[in-house]
């Protein structure tokens, strides 16, 4: 029992960077833009968050810097895909190349460094009074650092935003049928820009969670493909923020299961267990594409640039 609880709690922590990135990509894709630069934006956020953390020792400033760095990457993507109508797949890949280079370049002198003690203390788990006393649920969900809680809140907030507000409805319309939304005098480009930027900020936050809390020291390519798993998780979650919670924590569990199994002396190589998240991602994609249900259909205008004059 104790072992299960500690495993599940660790899965939530490991799933938190995935959650932020997945939520960011959901918001981006809901605006009809497929940004494959998640990995790049996460890396940009991770390195900037870490740098500002080292320089200022201020947790809020470092998180803010990470979000701004992610939004900066997303800004490049937005200008190119929305205003210049470039191919979204290639632009996203270029952003990943750029972000990887950016973090490798900037992080060169940070390699191996560890974040200041006061930041570590700040990002220590604190149990939520009352909630953390609930048996099983308490220690699994309510005994974490505040960014994990922020993850819950962000997911729920985005869920309400998407499904329960006028603006969320407009956003979904932009992703499904921009021409109709345009006719209803929704400012398409404004919606696209804002949500791509917000998505990038969330990806940056996901990256910063890795460098500031999860690892927490700098190593090159700290995301190790998590950005791509987040892109797949968006499909897994069917573009739904609530389901993103489930998917992220599930994959967080897969991420750490290797270490756990190795500790038990189970006769299987660690490298095969390391393949699990990637293999399961493929499996999930195949199963989802098999179902072909309406709930699992992407926003209809995903990947198509909108140009009023060309309708």
């Amino acid at each position: 029992m104790g072992l299960t609880i500690s495993f599940l709690a660790a899965a939530i922590v490991a799933g938190t960077p995935l959650l932020f990135a997945t939520l960011g990509e959901i918001i981006t894709e809901r605006a009809g833009n497929l940004n494959l630069g998640v990995e790049g934006m996460m890396l940009m956020g991770a390195v900037m968050g870490f740098q500002v953390g080292m320089d200022t020792g201020n947790p809020f400033l470092s998180v803010l810097a990470a979000m701004m760095a992610g939004a900066l990457g997303a800004g490049i993507f937005a200008v190119l895909t929305v205003s210049f109508r470039t191919n979204q797949v290639v632009t996203g890949l270029a952003l990943t190349t750029f972000g990887t280079g950016f973090s490798g370049f900037w992080g060169k002198q940070l390699v191996g460094q560890s974040i200041p003690q006061n930041l570590k203390t700040f990002f220590k788990p604190f149990p939520i009074p009352g909630l953390s006393d609930i048996p099983f649920i308490g220690p699994v969900f309510f005994n974490h650092d505040w960014l994990v809680y922020l993850g819950y809140i962000t997911a729920i907030f985005l869920g309400i935003y998407l499904y329960r507000t006028r603006r969320g409805l407009n956003l979904r319309a932009v992703g499904e049928n921009p021409a109709a939304a345009d006719a209803a005098s929704v400012n398409i480009n404004l919606y696209k820009y804002l949500h791509i930027l917000l998505g990038g900020a969330l990806c940056g936050l996901g990256g910063a969670y890795l460098s500031l809390v999860y690892v927490p020291s700098w190593q090159e390519n700290i995301t190790a493909g998590r950005g791509w798993i987040a892109v797949a998780l968006v499909i897994f979650a069917a573009w739904n923020p609530y389901k993103a919670l489930l998917g992220s924590y599930l994959f967080g569990g897969l991420d750490i299961i290797g270490f756990r199994i190795q500790g038990t002396g189970f006769p299987i190589s660690q490298y095969f267990i390391d393949m699990l998240p990637y293999a399961v991602t493929i499996l999930v994609l195949v199963v989802v594409s098999l179902k072909k249900s309406r709930a699992y259909a992407p926003p209809k205008a995903l990947g198509i640039p909108y140009f009023r004059e060309e309708r």
Binding site: V90, F98, G99, A232, I235, L285, S289
Partner: protein, 360 residues
């Protein structure tokens, strides 16, 4: 709005090339500002980069050696991209090709050289092709998103050879250092004019793929399928078969890259066998407009950029990742410039002014 966006009906080739060159220049200027922020003189750095890539016979050879895998991989990726199948699994396909070639190199080190090398090439092409057939099969059968599947397969392939390198294939003679034994002399591609023979293969493939893409039935079907699936269906193209064949070719070429790199460059299999070629090749493929001759030129220039990147790392202490930033930057600007190839901006208001005149 001050400007109105108007679609160009046609654009001269010179003009479109001019716009792209301008884009590269802008990318260089923007990156130059970045270099300035590092308290370095951008002109000096750029000149050093030119020197690093072309400054001596040895450096030119190094540039060519770096261009070979880029050219072959880009040719492979171009086949998939032409179909709008976003194969970003070049890394994994290269790795699996290298793995299959290494299997023969390590298992039969004493076979006669031509026989062993041929076996390695065939094995690599088949392995790379099969690895690419996985996403192709799911795409053809269930319309599964290929971008993610190809990418995930990269990681799985990497973990697989990491396992081999740290496990069953580990060289016991390497004194605890985790490496796979070096290939025998017979498993290493020979040199021709100072550079391993891969350059001949690459040049031949540029020619072959040009003919294939422009003058063969399958090449035409791939292009039609990329333009519109419905058109392809009405034209009687067997869509599933075309997807599978195209990806077998795409992955096969990437696999061949793996064999060449393992045999001629690394002389063994290692987790670093790709050197990120699978990703860089996506950029060169796109900038090469999916056309074999342009891919040749762009790949060579990018190889020069990479070679220059490692040179400035030693000369100026600038991390090699700077070359990656420059890559991204060039790509951003060239992508953006395509907008100006397709559209032109005209001053808004001219039209309405004329209208007013007519009314009065």
């Amino acid at each position: 709005m001050l400007f109105k966006i108007v679609k160009r009906s046609e654009i001269s080739k010179e003009k479109s090339i001019c716009i792209r060159i301008l884009a590269v220049l802008l990318a260089l200027i923007t990156s130059g500002i970045f270099i300035l922020l590092l308290d370095l003189n951008p002109l000096e750095v750029y000149w050093a980069m030119v020197q690093g890539a072309f400054g001596s016979k040895y450096r030119i050879e190094q540039t060519i050696i770096k261009a070979i895998p880029l050219i072959i991989t880009s040719l492979g990726i171009a086949v998939a991209f032409k179909m709008k199948f976003w194969n970003i699994g070049g890394e994994g396909q290269i790795i699996m090709g290298a793995f299959a070639a290494s299997f023969f190199a390590l298992r039969f080190p004493d076979l006669p050289r031509p026989l062993l090398l041929s076996l390695m090439i065939i094995a690599a092409v088949v392995a790379g092709g099969l690895w690419a057939l996985i996403p192709a099969f799911f795409k053809a059968q269930f319309d599964t998103n290929e971008t993610i599947v190809t990418l995930m397969l990269n990681y799985i392939a990497l973990k697989w050879i990491t396992y081999l390198q740290y496990g069953p294939w580990r060289d016991p003679a390497a004194q605890g250092f985790p490496k796979i034994p070096n290939f025998s002399e017979n498993a290493i591609l020979p040199d021709l004019l100072g550079v391993h023979i891969g350059w001949v293969i690459a040049l031949a493939l540029v020619f072959i793929m040009y003919i294939f893409m422009n003058h063969s039935k399958l090449g035409f079907e791939i292009a039609v399928l990329g333009e519109s699936e419905n058109t392809a269906r009405y034209a009687g193209v067997n869509i599933k078969k075309t997807i599978l064949l195209a990806l077998a070719i795409s992955g096969g070429l990437c696999g061949l890259t793996g064999m060449i790199e393992a045999s001629a460059v690394c002389n063994t299999l290692s987790v670093e066998v790709t050197g990120g070629v699978g990703f860089t090749a996506i950029v060169t493929t796109w900038l090469g407009a999916l056309s074999a001759p342009i891919i040749l030129v762009v790949s060579f220039l990018f190889a020069a950029l990479i070679q220059a990147g490692s040179f400035i790392q030693t000369a100026f202490g600038i991390p090699a990742a700077a070359a990656q930033i420059l890559e991204g930057m060039i790509l951003f600007f060239v992508l953006g410039s395509e907008f100006f190839v397709r559209y032109k901006l005209t001053k808004n208001g001219g039209f309405s002014l004329n209208l007013k005149k007519e009314v009065s």
